[in-house]
Amino acid sequence: MRLFTFQRAASVDEAIASGAGAAFLAGGTNLVDLMKIEVLNPERVLDVSRLDLAKIELREGALQIGALASNTAVAEHGDVRRAAPGLSEALLSGASPQLRNAATVGGNLLQRTRCAYYRDLGTRCNKREAGSGCDALDGWTRMHAILGVSDKCIAAHPSDMCVALYALDATVRVRGPAGEREIPIGELHLLPGDHPEREFSLQPAELITGVRVPIDALAARSRYVKVRDRQSYAFALASCAAAVQVEGGAVQAARFALGGVGTKPWRVPEAERSMQGRPATRETFARAAEIALRGATPRRDNAFKVELAKRTAVRGLMLSAGALS
């Protein structure tokens, strides 16, 4: 780890005022990890972990979750479990209890990719070092994305929480020098395109203060399914957060997002619309999954993800629709 200046912010205002050029540090599970292996090298670290941003409450038809709420706190919160079970399941499927105790919602929103090349300074990576090239493209691609890729980067987005939040239509509250704004979560993460080093739509010194998750009948039906190489403590090969509302055997409303397969959490509105009014059956869900995976660009080692993602989506939708025990 390079040496850096360490400061503690006493208030959100102070954090924003001195945030330019600094890395905000909360739980540290991602930032400290990447600093240790010198993938991220901030000269100044601003500790925001003691700010008063850890509240979780159900208010104005939405779950209002503070950016510093720990993953554990959110996952175990009664309102979250009732109103958005898929979010709780997604969080509990990620990392380990120790990491979830330290990791925060804000940090998880900004979680960096697990691409093995990004993490290995002995290889080239456009995300780590703009314009340096990408060794993953024709390398070991089993864990890489098949959706939203570019010829500069195929790194998969690693978060489980973000996938669930996306399916739940969450918005991210941020405050910066220019004031407060809300970003739909689908717009927080950027596609790699020609500039994989640009990962978030945040402006300098903008601090995530919280997340708003609208609560409705659909959210209450949300579920999360994750496929991985071992039973726990592993990143997703494919995952799906799904929410389906069924009336009289037909799909009233449905949303689903995919994880482990996109360069960002992945949602396809057309796929969701395709289920509208149709019978809540495997066929309907399979068709939606088919649409969602259109345009997938697999590489040598991750071709299986196309089929796996479809099956995972179907499983998620079936579960949410109550079509499985």
Binding site: M1, E38, A116, T123, G139, W140, D229, A234, T312, R315
Partner: protein, 675 residues
């Protein structure tokens, strides 16, 4: 106290810089930025490191090391420099600042590229030396004429041991005397290597290893960092300690080599094996020979007139592989026991019955009797415990909570190794006893078991005995590997204690002065007349998600017969650990190379998966408490550290076949292979 933790004032922290290239020549090392950092003492490189007095290649028959004596890069992640600082964080950062320039050279890490140059290599390990190839009968004709045949290629991937304690070495010089605290399975091997490297009499080198945080084979050799720690301490005139980072565990300190095994099996209509051919190819480095003796298991496992086994090596530009928990028997049993299952399935014979039909009463290759063999009993006990008779042959409809359920089994076996060992026993006037032997305890319970053996032999209470180990000042004992420690050291401890007992009896009771006796044992000639193995039977139940391909081993029962069991609790844990390794081998473990970079990319514990708590449900080892065997060694003990993994991966793969109808012949069985 683990090796990195010994308190030494004035200690310096060393962190290795390793190569990004897979092959090349180092042209320059720029350490200027690193050396400017606060607290950095030095950066050692091939250009400024001291020349080893013992010569550039301190080889002792142990693994070949790379210790800054030349400019060659022979594999990715090879040590090329060492950053030394007054704190760990400073050394770690300094290492990251070192820039190595090198002239790249062509390389390959892909087995297929070098198959044309595969060559036979004989097998040398704890059990002695065996020829690469062995042929008995006429396999070719038998295969041609057979009614029922299986011919298939089975593949096991490169794996990495990953003990939870990273390799660590702490070196302290005092004049021309060197003391090294090393995370090793064999202190005398480390001493030999260091004495050679620094041209010292072995007596000037002392190696101390009180606790080891897991070994599994990779700590059985003195690798590069061991010599580098001593070199740095010598050159800098201060004690130095080095621990490998987790990514540095991949390549520098060995791993299980990749294997490709072709099995040809034939049986007559009654289910009797008439031909067995097992051809194994495994990988090694360009500069050192390690062979995974995967086909050995086929030489003795089943009764068959026509048996051919072959071992081939291919050289790749990788770090040298090494023995990893049951080298040969683990990977080899996956191939053989899968093929046996395939043939049993084709014949429509129950897999246990098929194995019983082909039970070898004597070693089929050499015609020797087994010193003891209770495999039949293992099949019985295991099948009963597991509930094997309830098995369905066509389980496609067996769904439990939406999961396919399947069962499978396999035979387990591992050689009963035994080597020279010695021990010292001393009784003090107060009746307490100290027994010493330069063995190590890598988690198998050597401390406990040897104290127990000593107490029993001397006829004194266990509380009165202390067993100490892990110091080259003590009587020599073998490396803790190849499941040799219990058999060899227990025999030596018994010998020492018997000698002490005689002295005491002659004196007529408790001594007024401390009395000590030395015991040494070595394999007898008689032993060579027998085939010496432990045996067992593994039974697995799996649940497979029919859509998503995730496999969970819900139950693993192993029944073993391994001579005299010294301590039932510890033995159960050893068998259990081996079986859990079988789960990892079957479902998770794979060191994946980027073939273009020649580099292992699964270089941490998030990408290299070992089983987690959630992957291990019921693991249930049972064993025959006393399998009488007076041949194997004086203590009547067969090692138990490795047999638990043998057959386990095959039993699981066979269960997956039973559940899904899919035969996965290339490990690990990840979800993508079952879609």
């Amino acid at each position: 106290m683990y090796s990195y933790e010994w308190p030494v004032p004035g200690i310096l922290y060393g962190v290795l810089v390793t190569s990004n290239l897979a092959k090349g020549r180092i042209t320059a090392v720029d350490s200027a930025a690193a050396e400017k950092e606060p607290g950095v003492i030095a950066v050692l490189t091939p250009f400024n490191a001291m020349k080893l007095p013992g010569g550039a290649k301190p080889d002792t028959g142990d693994r070949v090391v790379q210790v800054f004596q030349d400019d060659q890069i022979l594999y990715s992640n090879q040590p090329v420099a060492l950053a030394v600082a007054d704190t760990f964080e400073r050394a770690l950062h300094a290492a990251a600042l070192v820039r190595v320039s090198a002239q790249p050279l062509p390389f390959t890490v892909r087995m297929a590229d070098e198959l044309h140059a595969a060559f036979p290599h004989d097998i040398r390990n704890a059990a002695g030396s065996r020829p690469a190839d062995q042929l008995r009968g006429d396999v070719e004709t038998a295969l041609r004429q057979a009614e029922h045949k299986v011919e298939a290629v089975y593949e096991t991937p490169p794996e990495t041991h990953n003990p939870l304690e990273p390799h660590a070495t702490l070196a302290v010089w005092s004049g021309d005397r060197l003391t090294v605290y090393d995370a090793t399975q064999g202190i005398f091997g480390v001493r030999k290597k260091l004495a050679k490297a620094f041209a010292l009499p072995p007596g000037n080198v002392r190696v101390i290893t009180k606790y080891v945080g897991g070994g599994f084979g990779c700590k059985g050799s003195a690798w590069s960092h061991v010599v580098i720690a001593a070199l740095a301490a010598k050159q800098l005139g201060r004690p130095v300690k080095i621990a490998l980072t987790r990514p540095q565990m991949f390549g520098i300190v060995g791993g299980r080599p990749q294997t490709q095994q072709k099995i040809s099996l034939a049986a007559d209509k009654d289910g009797r094996l008439i031909a067995l051919r097992h051809e194994s190819i495994s990988t090694t480095s360009r500069f050192d020979d390690f062979i995974e003796p995967a086909a050995l298991v086929s030489r003795h496992q089943y009764q068959c007139e026509n048996v051919e086994t072959k071992h081939r090596l291919v050289r790749l530009d990788i770090g040298t592989p090494t023995f990893m928990r049951a080298p040969g028997e683990s990977s080899g049993s996956f191939a053989l026991e899968s093929a046996i299952d395939e043939l049993a399935h084709e014949l429509g014979i129950d897999p246990v019955d098929f194995r019983l039909k082909n039970y070898a009463e004597t070693d089929p290759t050499e015609g020797k009797p087994f010193s003891s063999k209770s495999l039949r009993r293992c099949y019985e006990l295991g099948a009963e415990r597991f509930g094997w008779q309830k098995r369905t042959r066509r389980p496609e409809l067996m769904l439990r909570a939406g999961k396919l359920v399947g069962t499978g089994m396999a035979t387990a076996s591992y050689p009963a190794n035994y080597t020279k060992a010695s021990a010292l026993a001393r009784m003090r006037p107060d009746g307490t006893v100290l027994v010493q032997s330069g063995a190590v305890d890598i988690g198998g319970g050597t401390y406990t078991v040897m104290a127990q053996v000593a107490a029993e032999t001397l006829g004194v209470p266990y509380e009165k005995v202390r067993f100490d180990l892990g110091d080259t000042e003590m009587p020599e004992a073998p490396r803790s590997g190849g499941s040799t420690t219990a058999a060899s050291v227990a025999s030596a401890v018994e010998a020492a204690c018997r000698a002490l007992r005689q002295k005491l009896d002659a004196m007529g009771g408790r001594p007024r002065q401390p009395v000590e006796a030395f015991g040494e044992v070595a394999p007898s000639e008689e032993r060579k007349k027998y085939a010496l193995h432990s045996f067992g039977a593994q039974f697995a139940e799996v649940e497979v998600d029919p859509d998503l391909g995730m496999v969970r081993v819900t139950r693993l029962v192993g029944a073993f017969a391994a001579g005299r069991i010294l301590n039932a609790t510890l033995a159960r844990s050893q068998f259990m650990g081996g079986m859990v390794w079988g789960i990892g081998m079957a479902l998770h473990e794979h060191s994946v190379y980027d073939e273009k970079l020649g580099r292992i990319m699964t270089r941490d514990l998030a990408d290299y998966h070992v089983p987690s708590h959630k992957d291990v449900v019921i693991v249930d080892p049972i064993f025959i408490p006393v399998e009488k065997d007076e041949i194997v060694d004086p203590a009547g003990v067969k090692g138990i550290g490795e047999i638990g993994i043998t057959g386990a991966a095959a039993a699981i793969a066979n269960a997956v076949f039973n559940a899904t109808g899919k035969r996965v012949r290339a490990l690990p069985i990840t979800p993508d292979k079952l879609l």
